[in-house]
Symmetry: C2
Amino acid sequence: MGRRSDHTREQIHAMALESAEQIVDQQGYAGLTARKVVAGFGYTVGTLYLVFRNLEDLVLQVNGRTLDRLTEAATAAAAAAPPGKPRIEALARAYIDFARAWPQRWAMLHQFTLPANPPEWYQERAGRGFALVFEALQPLAPPDQVAHATFTLWGAIHGICMLELTHRIHLTRGESVESLVTSLIDNFLAGLAVRNRSEGK
Amino acid sequence: MGRRSDHTREQIHAMALESAEQIVDQQGYAGLTARKVVAGFGYTVGTLYLVFRNLEDLVLQVNGRTLDRLTEAATAAAAAAPPGKPRIEALARAYIDFARAWPQRWAMLHQFTLPANPPEWYQERAGRGFALVFEALQPLAPPDQVAHATFTLWGAIHGICMLELTHRIHLTRGESVESLVTSLIDNFLAGLAVRNRSEGK
DNA sequence: ACGTCCTATTGAACAAAGTTCAATTAGTGC
DNA sequence: GCACTAATTGAACTTTGTTCAATAGGACGT
């Protein structure tokens, strides 16, 4: 076949991303191949390289979308919760729910080896989640410690999710991710409050 | 060439693991190929399959060794520190130091997709680090909460390490991983103490 | 010394992967 | 209807994991 013009470049670009997401959902990152992606929307392999520099580029963009959706869910959750501790808990919950709803896309975020110099837009998108936690922590920590506490909480919640979702350690008994994260937040915020009180004296 | 008998199967097995580790250190998990591994100690590709079922098997065993070494370092660190909070801090430090010393091997631990049913020995080795934290937390949490607290701390420390080592978020200013982990431990343990005191009333 | 096994090791061969690009063919305009 | 153009193709190349018939070199008996 030759010229078809059934779709614009933008449409092909979008269809490729969606096809890729479907494959990742079903077969994981390891099951993603160039030929499968294009077969998913009725084109052949050469076409993929009209729209992406290479497979790495495609994966990077899929991950970018995943980050966007995660941020979107987290933003909505934060807006619906009252400020203070409930909002922190809502953010954590949103993160857990997202990872559970899209386990393969979430896993790909971490399995993919970023190129040496990740593009600007990717780092920007990855950082947006951080900003959400930062805002939510404002009323709970002294101004000069908010950034520090944000990194700590953010990393910690992520790490706990990882425990469950990689099945690297099997949580027995009542140790759900929810209860782990709840106790982390409880203890961390309680500790933050206590330590500031005693320092204030 | 034909029969050489320069090395026993055990020796070839060991040389392959070492060669693989060297490649991973230099070029990362993505740079690891069957032919490179055997070329590293002067054999050809077929030989690899005499000693490993496939590449996945090899990677699993390399990861097993990495886990062992991490556990070893952590055990030594825990033994050298007095019980209580200092021991927790020593464990965290050992984890951070290890990840910094062997960034590529550490990264491979997480980039590698475990097979559907990971072998028994792998899960056992992955769980040993957990036991160390569990013991160290004994004097700091009520018996029925130690396991819970262990999962929380373990996950949290891991998550914070991930922040730095994947360069997914750049830590600016004074936010070293050390200071983040220290504040996590401080706040978490302080919170644990406070909440238990008030519940005891 | 020599020939005969025997098996450890080889490396050619295959399938499947990413990537490229000359050829092709369906639109577009005259 | 014809020529032109560029969107799309898919064959071709490289590199990968994996297999296995062929081979070469050691061991052993005579």
